[in-house]
């Protein structure tokens, strides 16, 4: 190959190069470029496969933006869009999971003793969990089978192979065919399947505890969750106030930070059955009051900053804060109902069949897949490229493991995290088709129908290609806008 570039005229070399590239270019043009351009055109027509096909050959009609307008009047479009965004709430957990896996698998610590210690700790944790489950009522055989075997494997392979087996095992979800994975999880989620078989006796024991001390749960759990949620919100308000005061956050960042606080509360209020106006209006009022209180505060230090200063930090924080606050809000909501539920016994969830559990079930499966995904490989690569001198310097300064992570590992991995975040948002918006088709057919009651599955239904089951193309371009616009925002605000923190 190296000799090829030095022989013949430039024209001949150009032709040779094009000759080699041509199959790929033709493939790209035939299967990507042309369909892409066509789909854009189709989005503005009334193409319906029933009428516009090789048999009936009726003329296409230009309908302008009618497909797009109709899309927003479709009773289900917003529902499916909300489903798509809801499933994306799992993204921060997925990022944290893949980072955690990479941290476990890499030799961040240069002390072999610590690594062996980690394996022993993992073994103890697994064994301890098994004992806890046993105390909770799970059958002895089940405990032995699941945790005993896991603990033994963890200890033996960890010591013998130094972790290389784990790398392979952790990466398993990524090279297992998606459909096979979905079928496996469908079996696991079976109401009488292994997950619920393990959960049932534990929940029975918990129900017994709740029945014996209902007061602790009816007010204790909501109170604890409420206090924690309030503390988080106060901390965030205080933080925003400080950042506004020292000019490290602009007005857009402050409002974004407040909206992110109000979002989980609003959603919980809505799910509790409050009218949409109250659910949106209440938190919105709090945001407005908070914004006025913070933004009217004079800045005593620092220069005037850009309006969007600090926005990337707020968005990054929101990725963790919103799911956490949502969980706490759910604790407040469900805690009070726990005694009445326990009175008739706590049943394991009907994961894929229950409207309220179907989405979380899909998110849990996504988390499992994300832990052993390409993201983990990217983090492993990122971790290996962190200069060891930084850790040595930190060791000499007596930094704790947490400080080493927070001040060295995390900032050094910011470009990787940014990349994973961008790709995660893109895949999150586009995803869900195979899962919906294999596991739930988009049900129950449309709970797991995502935009991509909706596009498939409209295009190939309903035959409205114009409408499906419009939906696809709306999806593209969403991906494009969110990616732009990511690059506009996220890239800054990655490069800082």
């Amino acid at each position: 190959m190296s000799g090829l570039g030095h022989r013949g005229s430039p024209r001949r070399r150009l032709l040779s190069g094009i000759g080699f590239l041509l199959p790929n270019i033709l493939g790209f043009a035939a299967f990507t470029l042309v369909p892409l351009v066509m789909s854009f055109g189709i989005a503005f027509t009334d193409w319906d496969t029933l009428r516009h096909n090789i048999f009936r050959n009726e003329p296409l009609r230009f309908v302008g933006f009618e497909n797009f307008l109709w899309l927003f009047h479709h009773p289900d479009f917003m529902h499916y869009l909300a489903n798509t965004f809801f499933l994306m709430l799992g993204l921060p957990f997925a990022i944290a999971g893949s980072l955690g896996a990479a941290l476990m698998l890499t030799r961040v610590s240069h002390r072999p003793v610590a690594r062996r210690g980690a394996f022993i700790l993992a073994t103890l944790l697994l064994t301890g969990s098994g004992l806890l489950l046993r105390m909770g009522g799970m059958s002895q055989v089940g405990v032995w089978f699941i945790f005993g075997v896991l603990a033994a494997i963890s200890l033996v392979t960890g010591v013998v192979t130094g972790g290389s087996v784990y790398r392979t095992l952790f990466y398993l979800p990524n090279f297992t065919a998606g459909v096979a994975t979905f079928v496996l999880w469908k079996k696991l989620y079976n109401p009488s399947g292994p997950i619920n078989a393990a959960l049932a006796p534990v929940l029975d024991r918990i129900a017994g505890w709740v029945r014996s001390a209902p007061g602790v749960f009816s007010w204790g759990l909501p109170l604890t969750c409420g206090v924690l949620a309030t503390a988080l919100m106060v901390w965030q308000l205080w933080r925003l106030r400080q950042h506004w005061g020292d000019a490290s956050a602009g007005s857009v960042a402050v409002v974004t930070g407040l909206v992110m606080l109000a979002l989980p509360v609003g959603l919980q209020l809505y799910w509790m059955g409050l009218p949409a106006l109250t659910a949106v209006g209440g938190p919105l009022g709090v945001v407005l009051v908070g914004a006025v209180l913070i933004l009217k505060r004079p800045r005593r230090w620092g220069p005037v900053c850009a309006r969007d200063a600090g926005l990337s930090a707020e968005i990054a924080l929101a990725l963790g804060l919103v799911p956490l606050l949502s969980l706490l809000a759910a604790g407040v909501m469900w805690g009070a109902r726990l005694p009445s539920l326990a009175a008739v016994g706590l049943a394991p969830p009907n994961w894929l069949g229950d409207y309220d559990w179907a989405k979380p079930a899909i998110m849990i499966m996504g988390l499992w897949a994300a832990i052993g995904s390409n993201n983990m490989i990217l983090y492993l690569a990122g971790l290996s490229s962190i200069p060891p001198e930084l850790y040595e310097a930190a060791d000499m300064d007596g930094a704790s493991p947490l400080q080493r992570f927070w001040h060295i590992t995390w900032p050094q991995l910011a470009p990787v995290t940014f990349f994973i975040g961008v790709m995660g948002v893109i895949y999150g918006l586009q995803g869900g088709f195979e899962m919906a088709r294999v596991m739930t057919k988009g049900g129950p009651a449309g709970a797991t129908t995502t935009l991509s599955y909706f596009i498939y239904i409209e295009g190939f089951e309903t035959g409205r290609l114009g409408y499906a193309s419009a939906a696809a371009w709306v999806l593209f616009a969403l991906v494009f806008i969110l990616s732009l925002l990511n690059f506009r605000f996220g890239n800054r923190s990655a490069n800082d």
């Binding site: 048999f55 009773p75 409207y355 129950p444 009651a445």
Partner: protein, 490 residues
């Protein structure tokens, strides 16, 4: 590098040419037909019988091959509209309307008259499944009526009396409660159900309500009668637990792989009854000898059953038109009908074969005696094909109805809200389709005009010409009620 590139290119070209020459159609002198259907013992027997029939009739031979990989409706549609559909296709449910509407199924009206498989050769009630706007687009492979199969052993086990042939909704509820109470004592791990499902469309029809009005121009599911049925369904599923919810049903299916899960639960006694066609015998026979009965689904008012055959159509772009049409002719022949009788794949498409002793009392299966007669009687007397509107794809109807019912069962909507949402959503679909299709708009306007005439006549208490009514249920209902003009009566 260039040499290896060229060698690779040559090898790939050679391999492609070899592949092309080994395609079955290239290796044989006789035409090869592809038939989209399931690849099972019975279909293979059908293929063999077709080959034999051609030989017996001294017709030119063809090679019929089963294509079981493209049976999904979406695949059939996309391949057909792309010009690469299989020669012959099974058409189930809404496909029988949708595919001819696209133009991809051959109009065989004239061939049917010439070769002897006209609509008159099969059950009159089946016509809406293969006759569209007066033109014939295929022929039934069998006729299927769904009834409640009863496992008599299960009822005997719990000392609960078996249901009668005809029963009301209240009787169903009372007997169902009695059964589940007896079959599910405290502490039972695997719940036993009275029935796997109830047919919502037939229940609505019992109260005189169809999916659409007489001319199929408006969805009528926002009617209070639908609310009544939905409330019953919700109560039977959640409170009385006579039948599994969607999630419970799926969980039961997940216990046993494959399509036979419903039958496994039926034979093992977890379902006392299953609502399914006579073809169930194909699956039940190899599993053992069960004492069986078949009764009508419980119903208030107008007794009706769900009739629907698997019809077969010919792809409009087939390169073997003549040979493909011969297959439809074969479906009306004695060898094929006798084969259907023997394998119990529903009712034979030609009714006279359902009157034979072999069909009614198969000598090898005395445990089934009585069931075949029930199915034949239902096909003849109470069977009505599903209501479909040319203004809404039935796939959309099915999805909307199913999703909203699921939403109600999961407690997100009341029955009244569900019924209203069904009506609103489907009428919105009608508005959208007629807005975009001028030809459909014309048909719609014409039918709306007829609908107004029907409404006026009904309001005045006058009879209506049968030709005005498009919906198969309304036609049967009007006939039963004596609301048709005398000359239109059979």
């Amino acid at each position: 590098m260039k040499r290896s590139f060229l060698i690779s290119l040559a090898l790939l070209s050679l391999a492609s040419a070899l592949l092309y020459w080994t395609v079955p159609g290239k290796r044989t002198d006789i035409p090869v037909l592809y038939w989209i259907t399931q690849d099972d013992e019975n279909k293979r027997a059908t293929v063999a019988a077709f080959h034999q029939w051609l030989a017996d009739e001294h017709l030119p031979p063809v090679e019929l091959r089963i294509d079981n990989t493209n049976g999904e409706a979406t695949k059939k549609l996309v391949q057909g509209l792309s010009g690469v559909g299989s020669d012959i296709m099974d058409l189930y449910g809404y496909e029988a309307d949708l595919f001819p509407a696209t133009g991809m199924i051959l109009d065989v009206t004239e061939d049917a008259k010439r070769l002897g498989f006209p609509p008159a050769a099969t059950y009159p009630a089946l016509k809406p499944d293969f006759i569209i706007n007066g033109r014939q687009y295929g022929f039934p492979r069998n006729a299927g009526v769904a009834l409640n199969w009863i496992n008599r052993g299960t009822f005997a086990k719990y000392h609960v009396p078996e249901p009668p042939m005809h029963w009301t909704l209240d009787e169903f509820e009372a007997l169902g409660k009695k059964f589940v109470a007896a079959a599910n004592p405290p502490g039972i791990r695997e719940r036993v159900y009275f029935v796997n499902l109830v047919p919502r469309e037939q229940l609505r029809r019992g109260l005189g309500l169809a999916n659409y009005n007489e001319t199929d121009t408006r969805c009528t599911l926002d009617d209070p009668r639908n609310v009544q049925i939905l409330e019953r369904v919700r109560r039977w599923t959640l409170e009385d637990r006579l039948m599994p919810s969607r999630e419970e049903g799926e969980a039961m299916s997940a216990d046993i792989s494959g399509d036979g899960s419903m039958f496994s639960h039926f034979t093992s006694g977890r379902f006392a009854m299953v609502y399914v066609g006579q073809w169930a015998l194909i699956i039940l026979r190899p599993r053992g000898t069960f004492q069986l009965r078949a009764v009508e689904p419980a119903m208030d008012g107008f007794v009706n059953t769900d009739l629907g055959g698997g019809s077969v159509g010919v792809y409009a772009r087939t390169q073997h038109r003549k040979e493909s049409v011969r297959f439809l002719q074969f479906l009306a022949s004695a060898p094929f009908n006798n084969l259907i009788v023997r394998i119990a794949d529903g009712l034979p498409p030609v009714p006279k074969y359902a009157e034979t002793e072999e069909f009614l009392r198969p000598s090898d299966h005395p445990n089934e005696w009585g069931t075949a007669a029930a199915f034949a009687e239902a096909a003849r007397d109470t069977g009505i094909t599903m209501s479909k509107s040319p203004f809404v794809l039935h796939s959309i109807f099915y999805r909307v109805e199913k999703e909203l019912t699921e939403a109600m069962i999961s407690g997100r909507m009341t029955a009244a809200q569900t019924a209203k949402a069904m009506g609103d959503r489907l009428n919105q679909e009608i508005a959208l389709r007629i807005d975009r299709d001028p030809a459909l708009r014309k048909l719609y306007d014409e039918r709306v005009r007829v609908q107004q005439l029907i409404d006026a006549r009904r309001a005045a208490g006058k009879p209506v010409p049968a030709a005005w009514i498009n919906d198969p249920f309304h036609l049967a209902y009007y006939r039963a009620k004596g609301w048709l003009e005398p000359e239109a009566r059979p």
